[in-house]
Structures are given as structure tokens and as C-alpha cells.
């Protein structure tokens, strides 16, 4: 029997706020354990939460950008459960009235566009982190406690591990475009749990799902879903029943493992958080936030193809990151040929960025400088080969290409008379090669070009060298 895979993803992202969701503590990653805490996030007796308005703004921005129905009434609920990383033993979250309902995330798979539907996006606070085997036992680091999170729940609308991967990539791109989250899985600012079930192709009733946890990269999400789909298919094929359970992804063994014994039916006893008053959002507020939403990656992708005549692949790379797309677009607007800009950006620029491990914004090469470089190549002032060295220097020093060329005296020789003189010399000094050419060995011309270039210390304009040499040879 042929099966259809049904996947729904729950993604938690940490919002880019300076302070925590309900107190003034810093959200900076990587501090010493329990140094970014205060009575409020420690849940000491008598403290009260105070809403970080920035977290609401970022969530509203996200909802608007993904086409959600954004509520004008923002209220919070308590989710009650006992766990040592949760000092209050309840989490402030949103239950029956999430800020954002519906909406979708656009994906492109095998050249096809598809919109993955969202169920909801709500706000909640993060819990702390248990650290085992410290000071002779287990400890808890509460630096993370109270960080603002957005939980993004998709509909069971994803039908392959590849789609799941594409969804995560697109979601992350979108969130980063919006500047609402770093979406850094290594630092835990993006976390993903996956729900998967299978059903006979053509049927509509959902099968029993399993939830996969402990996913630490998009690649592992994909792998775990591939594994789990096969496992379920095999189990059903063997006449077994799928148990609704949580399974852990073991990345080393590349398989999911049942967490069976720990499963208890949770009753979170949600009720409205009495310490926070609901926030009413006015039309003016939505207007303001809407003005802060940039052009989203999928729209920009199509525009880049249309406006800059980029290939689908190039447009995909250029729009994968907002700063990169901005860099590309800014450079192109300075009059450089977009296709060439894309090649430079995908080639030398990203290579240097990755080697230096810096962000695009921190690159010392500015769009105007790259545009200038490309124009210098076009004008024949320098060769493409030399341009690569010039670019490396631009990247290292932040100087503009004209200055580098001037300093190093590497201006390309485009003076025809000068080049003709070099050619004359070379032909004079290499009679054998000239003979070869004359006797019909046309490939000898390439060799002569090389000799001319060498004689000019690489400064001669290769295009002119080719033209002038050919003329000369034809005259022979």
C-alpha cells in the first residue's frame, strides 16, 4: 500500500528583545549560570510579572508578515506543571486566545510554490536549563528563564521530510528578515518538535501521530522524519498499531527512540494569568507595526528574477538572507551588472565572509566598492583575475578598489600602442612559435597571448591583447 506522510511542526523561537519577557534581566546568550536573574524571573515570593511590550510588537509583526489573523486583544494564561527548571511551577503562556491565528509560510519545492498553513503563533516565557553532574548533583541555570518565546504551530499540512525542511528554511528566513529572532539552533533560539503520522494515500483521516523531540538541526529534522515515516510504515505493514508517544531523535544512531515510561497524561490546568492585564491593541498600533515589515523573502525572490533577470538559483541565494539581499540590491543599484554582482556575492564575497566568520553587516566591503570593482573590470581597467586579488584586499582593509589599484600600480594597460609594442617584442623574440602558427598550428596564438601577458606583468588588457595579436598574426 502507498502511504502519505502527514507532518506538523512546532517551532519555538526566542524573540530578539534586550530584556526578558516579564522582567528587566538581560537576554544575552552565554553568561555564567544564574547571573542574569532577578527576584521576578527566579519566581521568588511576592514578585509580579510586567509585560515586555517589545515582545508583543515582534509577535504582532510576525503575525502580520505571515498573514495571520492578529488579535487586537492580547491576554496570557498560566500553564501549570511541576518541573525544577520552572521556578514558579507554572509557565506564563497563551492558551485559548493566541495572539496570531492562521496564516501560512510559503515554500518552494521542485520549482513548485506551496503555502504551509499555520494553526497559531503565541507568546510564552522560556524555562531554565537543567545541568546534570555538577557540584555532585544536578543544577539549574535560570538565565534562560523568562526569555520571550514565540511558539509557531503549523497545521498537519506538510507531506514530506523535504517539505518540512523547506518550511523550516523559509520560516527562519522570514523571521530573520523581520528581525524578530536570530533563529540560532545552536544557541537554542530556535527549537523544533515534529509530529508525524502516515495514512493510506487518498484517505483523509489522520493516522496516529508520534512526536519527535531532541532535534538540533534542520538536517536532523529531515532525517528523523524520514526514519520515522519508514518506521511507521514498516510497523503498520507488520500489523502493529502506532502508539501516540514522544520519541527522541538519536542523532548518532540516526533513529528515534521511544520515551514511553515518562508519558503521563498532562492536565495543565490553564487559567487566565491574574497578574497581567490584557493588552488591547489599537488600529494605529497595527498600522505602525505594519510599516515596519520589510519585503519578505518570497516576494523579493520573485522580484529579483523579474527586475534583475537573475536565475531562480541566483535569486534564491541572493534572497536567503536579508542583509545579503540588501547588499546585492544596493550594489546593483550602483550601476553594476546584477548578474555579475550575484556572481561576485556568491563567489568571493561569501567565501571571505565565511572564512572570516563575520556577518554581512560587519563586512568592510561596501556595496559601492564592489560596484566600482565590477565597473573597473567592465571598463577594462583591471582584469578579472587581478580583480580577485583587489577584492581580497578590499575585504581585508575596507579600501575602495581605485585606491588599491593606484597604490599597487596594477592598473591594466589598455593603451593599444603600448600593447602593440609588447606584442612586437614577443613576436620578435619567439620566432619559433610564430613559425608554428604560420605552419597552421592555430593554437599557438593562445601561447603567444600568455607570453604577452607575462611580459606585461599581467597588466595588459587580455581582451585587447587578443584582438591586437590576432590582427598582427593575420598580417603576417
Amino acid at each position: 500500500m502507498e502511504y502519505e506522510i502527514v507532518i506538523g511542526l512546532e517551532v519555538h523561537v526566542q524573540l530578539n528583545t534586550l530584556s526578558k519577557m516579564f522582567c528587566g534581566c538581560s537576554t544575552k546568550f552565554g553568561a555564567e549560570p544564574n547571573t542574569q536573574t532577578c527576584p521576578v524571573c527566579l519566581g521568588l515570593p511576592g514578585v509580579l510579572p510586567v509585560m515586555n511590550e517589545e515582545a508583543i510588537r515582534l509577535a504582532v509583526k510576525t503575525g502580520m508578515a505571515f498573514g495571520c489573523r492578529v488579535s487586537n486583544f492580547c491576554k496570557f494564561d498560566r500553564k501549570n506543571y511541576y518541573y525544577p527548571d520552572l521556578p514558579k511551577n507554572y509557565q506564563i503562556s497563551q492558551y485559548d486566545k493566541p495572539l496570531n491565528m492562521g496564516g501560512s509560510v510559503p515554500i518552494r519545492i521542485d520549482g513548485q510554490k506551496k503555502a504551509i498553513k499555520l494553526t497559531r503563533i503565541h507568546l510564552e516565557e522560556d524555562a531554565g536549563k537543567l545541568v546534570h553532574d555538577v557540584c555532585g548533583g544536578s543544577g539549574v541555570d535560570l538565565n534562560r528563564t523568562g526569555l520571550p518565546l514565540m511558539e509557531i504551530v503549523s497545521e498537519p499540512d506538510i507531506h514530506s521530510p523535504d517539505e518540512a525542511y523547506a518550511y523550516l528554511v523559509s520560516l527562519k528566513q522570514g523571521l530573520r528578515y523581520l528581525g524578530v529572532s536570530d533563529c540560532n539552533m545552536e544557541e537554542g533560539s530556535l527549537r523544533c518538535d515534529a509530529n508525524i503520522s502516515i495514512r493510506p494515500k487518498g484517505t483523509s483521516r489522520l493516522g496516529t501521530k508520534t512526536e519527535i523531540k531532541n532535534l538540533n538541526s534542520f538536517a536532523n529534522v529531515k532525517k528523523s522524519l524520514e526514519y520515522e515515516a519508514k518506521r511507521q510504515e514498516k510497523a503498520i505493514g507488520n500489523g502493529e498499531r502506532i502508539i501516540q508517544e514522544t520519541r527522541l531523535w538519536d542523532a548518532a544512531k540516526e533513529k528515534t527512540i521511544s520515551m514511553r515510561s515518562k508519558e503521563e497524561a498532562h492536565d495543565y490546568r490553564y487559567f487566565p494569568e491574574p497578574d497581567l492585564v490584557p493588552v488591547i491593541l489599537e488600529d494605529e498600533y497595527f498600522k505602525k507595526v505594519s510599516g515596519e515589515i520589510p519585503e519578505m523573502p518570497d516576494v523579493r525572490y520573485e522580484r529579483f528574477i523579474e527586475e534583475y533577470k537573475l536565475s531562480g538559483y541566483d535569486a534564491g541565494v541572493m534572497t536567503s538572507d536579508k542583509d545579503l539581499a540588501d547588499f546585492f540590491e544596493e550594489t546593483s543599484k550602483q550601476g553594476a551588472d546584477p548578474k555579475k554582482v550575484a556572481n561576485w556575492v556568491m563567489g568571493d564575497f561569501l567565501k571571505e565572509i565565511n572564512t572570516a566568520k563575520i556577518s554581512i553587516c560587519d563586512a568592510r566591503v561596501k556595496p559601492s566598492a564592489l560596484a566600482m570593482l565590477i565597473k573597473l573590470i567592465d571598463k577594462g581597467t583591471i582584469s578579472g583575475k587581478i580583480a580577485k586579488d583587489v577584492f581580497a584586499e578590499m575585504f581585508a582593509s575596507g579600501k575602495n578598489p581605485e585606491d588599491i589599484i593606484k597604490e599597487k600600480g596594477i592598473v591594466q594597460i589598455s593603451d593599444e600602442k603600448e600593447i602593440e609594442a609588447v606584442i612586437k617584442d614577443v613576436l620578435k623574440n619567439n620566432p619559433k612559435v610564430v613559425e608554428d602558427y604560420k605552419s597552421g598550428k592555430k593554437s599557438a596564438s593562445g601561447f603567444i597571448v600568455g607570453l604577452v601577458m607575462k611580459a606585461s606583468k599581467g597588466k595588459a588588457n587580455p581582451k585587447l591583447v587578443n584582438e591586437l595579436l590576432q590582427k598582427k598574426l593575420d598580417e603576417l
Binding site: L44, P45, G46, V50, P87, Y90, P274
Partner: protein
């Protein structure tokens, strides 16, 4: 009369005229405390620190409205560097690293904290008998309870140990002990006073308020603690009137409502007689007395015990032995929770946690919690409607005077019903005050006045008018000279 038996406004007047110094007041209060230990007002006192502080004030120009005034704080409000127990074993060893906003405001006005007062554990009770540290005695009769849960805050003022005190009121926990101890006790409008630093019992009902010997003192204390606090989202950003200057404006033409539902069964005859007489007095002051109806009154106790316990079950979840306070030895985390909470909480607290957990449980939520929230809205409506007709609603504070210690401890329901007149104000979020309106068998009877949201001024004005016609507020429960010793008044 000893200094410690005087009112705050009298003491402030004497300080202003330099007739006395802060340290003299403090000496008087501390010396009283030495004689009244058996009443057990306090869980912890700070005599040396208080004396030192008063001594420093002797040398300074006094600027605050409460300079040199000894105050007592209920032990569910945090003070930096001091223990905060909520009268519970489970908070043993916990030291607060910060100060509650309301307490800080008193300190900013120059008040000196002399101690943290006894209470029902986590403010759950009406008699101060559920305290882990033992019960507090009523200053008017040692065999009876002082009321609760802010029993110690009430007795500290009634005994002259403190000139004023702060309590918290979730269902009557200021007004009822004020009634049973013959004091003025005021529960402000929900949102009038910051709850930051008040250990939560039921967040949507809790409010901090003052205990005082008379209305003017209550007005001074209320003014000091009121106001918006950015640390409490539920505090309201509304202007704080100058309460003390407004109390003497009189009540001529004021419409005072008497809700018929408050004078049905269960009320003690003498209590009713005192309250009826008080209503007459108010009429004689020029107020217009009207009959009003609060038809949903009968549902208030049930509604309250669902909402308050639901919130409490969640608020008290943090006392688990993991982060601070008591921790019982256990082999794993679940046992740690179980053992710590079993050992740390008393019976009444456990009862309410279980009740609250139950009403929030899946499958019961709609029938209990949600239904209670709806009834709460209806109760609020009752009051809105009534306040369309009258300015103040007058009722008894408690159906009876102080009862014998132990009389109701085995019957929770009977205990719960002692709050029947005070609970509605918390559900509606309106301000209410209790003041002494007479005695029955030597025990004080309380008169409760309720007003619309943020109308504390009219409550104080009405209470003051009543006070001027009587001298109950001048009676002191404790006297140091044998012949003046008030036994059964």
C-alpha cells in the same frame, strides 16, 4: 495615656511641636511590646534596629508624614534582608532580597518597622489559628480569636505595640480582624495599592491596606501606600487624593444604602442592633438612608472559594523545596516535591490547594472556575447597579463578634461563612472599610462601609462622621494600670 496608645496624627502633632522625639515613641512602643508578648502579635520583631532608627530620626528634621511612627507589617510582605514566612513552615529560612512597594512607601514617609506580624498561614483563615507559629489572642478577651488572616497586624495596633500596621485583604482579612479587635481596617480598591512584594494568595483579590486606631490615621496610612507602581501591572494609574484633608467634609445628603440581603439569617442579634444603631447615627449626620438590593450575595462565598483557591493552587506551586525555603530529604525530584509540601504546608493550605487544583482540572473547569468567573461578573453588576442609587453601602463586617479559640477550627465551612459580609468587596474589587460601632459582651462590633471603585475618600468621610458621634475609637483594649484595665468593656 502612654505615647504608644496615641494616634498617629496626635503623635505627628507632638513631634511637629517638638514636644516629643521619635525615640520616646519607640521606647513606649517597645516597652508595651514587652508586656504584651502573650498575645503573640508578632512572628519576628526588630527592637534594636527600630530603636536605632528612631534615635537617628531624633537628630534629623522630620519630613515624612509618618516620621517616627512605629509600624507593624504582616509577614506576607517582603522587606529586604528580613525573613518572610507567611506563617508557614515551608518558607522557613527564606530571606527576602527586596522590599514590597507598599512597605517601601511607608519607609519613605519615615515610618519605622518594629516587626512582622502573625497571620493565618498564607493568609488562609479567619482567626489567625492556622499559623505555623501558633495563634494570636484577641486583646479584648484572651480566650477569643483576633480574627484573620491579618490577626497580628490588628492586635499589634489594638495593643499599642504599633501605631499603625499593614495587612492584606483577600476576602476580609483586614476588615474582619479590624472588626473583631475594634479598629479601623481598610481594604482599598483593587489596583489602588501595589501588590509587588506581597506574597500572593489569590492574585485577583489580594489587596494591601492599613489598620489604624481611628479614621484619620487610616487616611494618613492609605495616602502613604497608594499609587501606581510599574512593577504591578494590575495597579492603576489614577491620582491619589489627599485623603486626610477630605475626611472632615461631612456626609450631609450622602445616599447610604442598606442591602437587605445582609440582614437575613446567621447574624448575631447584638451585632445587628449595633449596626442598626450606627445606621441611625449616620442618618442623624444628614445622610439619606435607602434600601438597596445585592441579589447575588448568597453566591459570594461559593464563588470566592472557587476563584481564590484556584489562584492559590497555582500561586503556591512555587514552594516546592527546589529553589528556597524548606527542603525535605528525598531520593528523587517527585519525592522531594511530595515530602517538602507535605511537611511544609498546614491542613488549611493543603485543603485549599486541593480544592483549587480540582476546580481548574480538565473536565471541571467549566463547571466550577468558569462558572464562578461568570457569577463574579454578576456580583460586580449588583454593585454597579447599587452604586447608581447610593454612594455608600453599609453592612455589618462580621456576623458575630470574636469567637472562642478553637470553636471553628474543626469546621471549615463555618469558618468560611464568617467572611460572608466581606468577600463580595474583593470579588467586585471595590473599597471597603470596617470600624468599631459598639460592643457586645465586651467584644467590639464592626461596621462595614463599601463604595464604588476608587471612592475611598467617601468611605473615610462617612466613617469619620460616624466616629465624631461616638467614642468607640477612643477605647483601648490594653491598659498598663490595673484600675484602667479593660476587661469586659
Amino acid at each position: 495615656m502612654e505615647l504608644c496608645d496615641k494616634t498617629i496624627h496626635d503623635l505627628s502633632g507632638m513631634l511637629a511641636k517638638k514636644e516629643i522625639q521619635p525615640s520616646e515613641i519607640m521606647k513606649s512602643a517597645l516597652s508595651r511590646m514587652e508586656k504584651t508578648g502573650e498575645f503573640a502579635s508578632f512572628i519576628k520583631t526588630f527592637p534594636e534596629e527600630a530603636m536605632k532608627c528612631a534615635g537617628e530620626q531624633d537628630k534629623k528634621a522630620l519630613k515624612g508624614s509618618l516620621s517616627g511612627i512605629p509600624v507593624a507589617i504582616k509577614d506576607n510582605m517582603c522587606i529586604e534582608g528580613k525573613g518572610t514566612t507567611c506563617a508557614s513552615h515551608i518558607l522557613e529560612g527564606f530571606t527576602a532580597p527586596y522590599t514590597a512597594t507598599a512597605v517601601q512607601k511607608l519607609l519613605d514617609e519615615g515610618a519605622i518597622v518594629i516587626g512582622k506580624t502573625n497571620m493565618d498561614e498564607f493568609a488562609m483563615g479567619s482567626s489567625t489559628e492556622t499559623s505555623f507559629f501558633g495563634n494570636t489572642l484577641n486583646p479584648w478577651n484572651k480566650d477569643t480569636v483576633p480574627g484573620g488572616s491579618s490577626g497580628g497586624s490588628a492586635t499589634s495596633v489594638a495593643l499599642g505595640e504599633a501605631a499603625g500596621s499593614l495587612g492584606s485583604d483577600t476576602g476580609g482579612s483586614i476588615r474582619q480582624p479590624a472588626s473583631l479587635c475594634g479598629l479601623v481596617g481598610l481594604k482599598p480598591t483593587y489596583g489602588r495599592v501595589s501588590r509587588y512584594g506581597l506574597v500572593a494568595f489569590a492574585s485577583s483579590l489580594d489587596q494591601i491596606g492599613p489598620f489604624a486606631k481611628d479614621v484619620e490615621d487610616a487616611a494618613i496610612l492609605l495616602k502613604a501606600i497608594s499609587g501606581y507602581d510599574a512593577k504591578d501591572s494590575t495597579s492603576v494609574n489614577a491620582e491619589v487624593p489627599d485623603y486626610p484633608s477630605q475626611i472632615k467634609n461631612g456626609i450631609k445628603g450622602l445616599r447610604i444604602g442598606v442591602p437587605r440581603e445582609y440582614f437575613l439569617e446567621g447574624i448575631d442579634n447584638e451585632v445587628e442592633a449595633c449596626v442598626r444603631k450606627a445606621i441611625k447615627d449616620l442618618e442623624n449626620c444628614g445622610a439619606e438612608i435607602r434600601d438597596v438590593s445585592l441579589p447575588r450575595t448568597e453566591y459570594a462565598v461559593a464563588t470566592y472559594y472557587i476563584i481564590a483557591t484556584a489562584e492559590a493552587s497555582s500561586n503556591l506551586a512555587r514552594y516546592d523545596g527546589v529553589h528556597y525555603g524548606l527542603r525535605e530529604k528525598a531520593g528523587n525530584i517527585i519525592d522531594l516535591y511530595k515530602k517538602t509540601r507535605s511537611a511544609g504546608f498546614g491542613d488549611e493550605v493543603k485543603r485549599r490547594i486541593i480544592l483549587g487544583t480540582y476546580v481548574l482540572s480538565s473536565g471541571y473547569y467549566d463547571a466550577y472556575y468558569l462558572k464562578a468567573q461568570k457569577v463574579r461578573t454578576l456580583i460586580k453588576e449588583d454593585f454597579s447597579k447599587a452604586f447608581g442609587e447610593v454612594d455608600v453601602i453599609v453592612t455589618p463586617t462580621s456576623p458575630t463578634t470574636a469567637w472562642k479559640i478553637g470553636e471553628k477550627t474543626d469546621d471549615p465551612l463555618k469558618m468560611y461563612l464568617s467572611d460572608i459580609y466581606t468577600i463580595s468587596a474583593n470579588l467586585a474589587g471595590i473599597p471597603a472599610v470596617s470600624l468599631n460601632c459598639g460592643f457586645s459582651a465586651g467584644l467590639p462590633v464592626g461596621l462595614q462601609l463599601q463604595a464604588a471603585h476608587f471612592n475611598e475618600a467617601v468611605l473615610l468621610r462617612t466613617a469619620y462622621a460616624f466616629e465624631q458621634m461616638n467614642d468607640y475609637h477612643k477605647k483601648r483594649a490594653f491598659s498598663e494600670t490595673a484600675e484602667n484595665q479593660v476587661k469586659y468593656y
